[in-house]
């Protein structure tokens, strides 16, 4: 692998490692907490499967939140050093800016992959421990993949925002301001429109870019 890429990854990892390890541990542990929902022994053939399903559904709601917050953090952290140094370091490197951006992106994505692997291992361990009856299934791989893709999407947005031009940032802020203002006007005039709610719907429902964050995040389901 490219030595410069490895160095960028190393530097980036040094910056985020505490949070990355913490998040990885959390997502590894969460699937195991589902098993505490059953009263009896988890290997019991007549264990409270419904309890696991309910707990899996509840815990599942935490994963998209973790994915979004983690991506927010990583997306902000990935450009922090460059911003502090006013990008002088990046400009002095003997590589094109495009390549540097890709290196930065990959460096920031490594902790995402690590957390997804942690979730996969935690989910697989939980699935191995329990005795699931016919018709009820564990989805550790599907859940970990969903987490990976969702975190990458959110991270990409933050990453792109971090490298955006002043004009683009201003445009984005202006769009948000217009949205807030239209919501305010709709409220004052008692109009039956909800611009913010509608925008969130468009973004989070298929084929919106954040549709991956919604949907089923249960480790155990039928």
């Amino acid at each position: 692998m490219n030595a410069m890429l490895l160095e960028v990854i190393r530097v980036q990892w040094t910056r985020v490692r505490v949070t990355a390890v913490l998040v990885t541990l959390i997502v590894f542990t969460l699937p195991l907490t589902i098993l505490r929902a059953s009263d009896g022994p988890v290997t019991d053939a007549m264990a409270d499967v419904g309890g696991w399903l309910r707990a899996a559904s509840f815990v599942g709601r935490l994963f998209p939140v973790i994915a979004a917050l983690y991506a927010l953090y990583l997306g902000a952290a990935v450009w922090l050093d460059d911003m502090r140094g006013k990008h002088v370091y990046a400009l002095t490197l003997p590589i094109s800016r495009e390549r540097y951006v890709v290196y930065r992106f990959l460096a920031g994505a490594v902790p995402v992959v690590l957390a997804s692997v942690g979730l996969l291992l935690g989910g697989a361990l939980a699935a191995l421990i329990v005795h699931l009856p016919s018709g009820v299934h564990a989805y550790p791989l599907a859940l970990a993949f969903r987490f990976l893709v969702a975190t990458l999407v959110c991270y990409s947005v933050m990453f792109a925002v971090g490298v955006t031009t002043r004009r683009a940032a201003t445009t984005l802020l202006a769009a948000i301001a217009v949205l807030l203002l239209s919501q305010l006007v709709a409220g004052v005039l008692d109009l039956s429109i909800n611009p913010i709610g509608r925008t969130i719907d468009v973004l989070t429902r298929w084929p919106g870019p954040f549709a991956i964050l919604t949907g089923n995040w249960s480790l155990f389901d039928v």
Partner: protein, 347 residues
Amino acid sequence: MFLALAVLAASAHSVRGHSHQLDRQRLARAEQLSDSLREVDSAEASRQQARADAGDDGPVRVIISAGGGSARLVAQDVWKTWRGFGIPDSVLSRFVLVEEGVSQRGATINHRKAIIFNRPGGLAGNDKRFASFMADNASWSLSGALLDSTMSLFLDDHFDPRVSAGSENALAIADLKQGRWRSGRRCLSGSAADCVVYLGIEEHPDARVRYPIADIRQAIIARAVPLTNMYKSCVDGDDSACAGIWREGDHAPSNTSGRWSFVVFLRERYGSQVLPSVLADTAASVGARLRHATGQSPLELAAAWRDWLLPPAQRWPVAAGALQAGSSLFIVMVLLFAAARSDMWLD
């Protein structure tokens, strides 16, 4: 005009209590107007009766208000729906379906039993879509008449013949997941015997097995409403009070969707003749009727229902589909490309 008359009539009523303070002439005028209002209502009702539209298709006869849709289309729809469940024409021809508020006197009933149904929420029209809404309501009311006491108890008084696996299974699974009753929890865990109890298809039902005291107590504690004395006694440890609350009525522990889902399963697995056979049977328990109709024991049926219910039920899969995953990764690539082409360094 009606509103004005109604206001005046109401005022007549209110002034009656204080007549010693009011002008007698005014009171007489209000009462006169009140009488006029009653006459208008009566005349309108008569006209409505005269305009009743009777229509039939095959054995089904429907009477609805004239101008409120095509009775023949509604009858056609009802016939088709119940034929799908194997209900014989000879049974359907025992009834006449009459819209609420429409007189039956103008139509030929021929010893048929009148079943009253409601018009769906002020709708009107002559097309098939409207007829379909009317037929839904008519079929719903008719279902109550088709069920004897045993099946009425089993299906919660009515049965919607338009139910499908798609409409009921998700709700049935949600109830199983909720696990309010021991039988439901163990049914989900794979015990077919508990599925029998959960569905209420035992050959010899036992309310004590359906509703264990511990579950009743738990269910009462979970209710976020003020407790009556009986409920308090149950929570405080009086088992007979608990039994008195839940075991009366002898309903099955499953929700209605669970049992409707079971009926849909029976039709899919054993054909449309099962429901008429069960309805025509006079055995006291649902389990015995099912054994006669299908040749299978309730245990076998419940196990097969559970297997049928669970696998196809994941309506929202955990796995991101190829399209969703692909489009998400495409968004990632677009954003990365945009970031790589950014002119930020030139700012």
